[in-house]
Amino acid sequence: MKILKVIFGGDESDKFAMTERHWLICFWLILLALTLMSVFIAESADPTAWTVLFVSMTVTLKGQLVIDRLMGLRHANPLIRGLMLMYFYVLALLIVWALLFPEQLAALTTL
């Protein structure tokens, strides 16, 4: 109970801090749920194109949530935010391509 009080409770007394705290809890729980969902799907089903697409989308979504909500870049400098988000979009696409079309990547990287 004390642990739950530490996690969900808080000392910030003003209204803004209360709202921010509740949003942070909400995003944290979404992140945990996305992680558990992707593990469950990958463990319970044979690897298919849909599994790869789902897990890659989960990675992008989790990255965006951490960057925007936990790091606090949602309303920050668009260049810094854009570069951070691009990292996840580009890598997720690269993962999808490499896992769904490995022959193409192998051909491209054969000397």
Binding site: V6, G10, D11, E12, S13, D14, A17, E20, R21, L24, I25, F27, W28, L31, L32, T35, L36, S38, V39, A42, E43, P47, T51, V52, V55, S56, T58, V59, K62, G63, V66, I67, R69, L70, M71, G72, L73, R74, H75, A76, N77, P78, L79, I80, L83, M84, Y87, F88, L91, L94, I95, A98, L99, P102, E103, L105, A106, T109, T110
Partner: protein
């Protein structure tokens, strides 16, 4: 030369002033460090994908021998640690040093938990006869995860230093750039793991 310096300062000023609502956390030096670290991880990810494309059987079989529970637990621990850092930042913004310290302590505890789980995982691998020379998959697995573990240790030192400065009263609701830098570095560690976990443990 003067023009070049002038344009460089303008660029820095642009980075720091272009935000529309909230100021960007930390400073430009921290963001350059974060991009450098993420680029290093990106290079490892690309190497992993290229080697995987040349050895599909080894890389399809490899994850089946890993301790997925340890990987999943570490993901949950790191996401929780990011939440703790965000709460610490909310605390200092509200001018509450005690709240900030409480959540930074929780972040450190999460970092220690991560290290403990990682030690258990490596021990578990050793018991199963797995090491970095087992095959190409495990070479890359150890390279990526050990490199990430080193970043977690550096992050824990950074958070400890930030806690020391909070205790000294170095940060206020108006001025807490150093703490923001430590927080952003810790989030970066979490971001790298968000990609490492599915790449090594989940996608087969």
């Amino acid at each position: 030369m003067k023009d070049k310096l002038g344009s460089s300062f303008n660029f820095t000023a642009q980075i720091q002033n272009a935000s529309d609502e909230r100021p960007t956390p930390a400073n430009i030096a921290v963001w350059i460090l974060i991009w450098a670290e993420l680029s290093e991880f990106a290079l490892f990810f690309i190497v992993y994908l290229v080697v995987r494309s040349h050895n599909p059987e080894i890389f399809s079989e490899g994850p089946k021998h890993l301790n997925t529970l340890a990987g999943a637990l570490n993901t949950l621990v790191l996401l929780t640690s990011s939440y703790c850092v965000a709460r610490a930042m909310a605390g200092i913004r509200a001018g509450n040093t005690d709240t900030c310290m409480k959540w930074l302590t929780a972040t450190l505890a999460m970092g220690l938990t991560y290290c403990g789980i990682k030690a258990w995982e490596y021990h578990w691998n050793g018991e199963a006869g797995i090491d970095s020379r087992t095959d190409k998959f495990f070479t890359l697995y150890y390279y990526l995860t050990f490199n990430h573990l080193l970043h977690v240790l550096v992050g824990m030192c950074t958070i400890s230093w930030a806690m020391f400065r909070v205790q000294l009263g170095a940060f206020s609701p108006q001025q807490h750039e150093g703490l923001e830098g430590a927080a952003c570095y810790w989030h970066m560690i979490d971001l790298a793991w968000i990609i490492i976990f599915p790449l090594l443990y989940v996608l087969r």
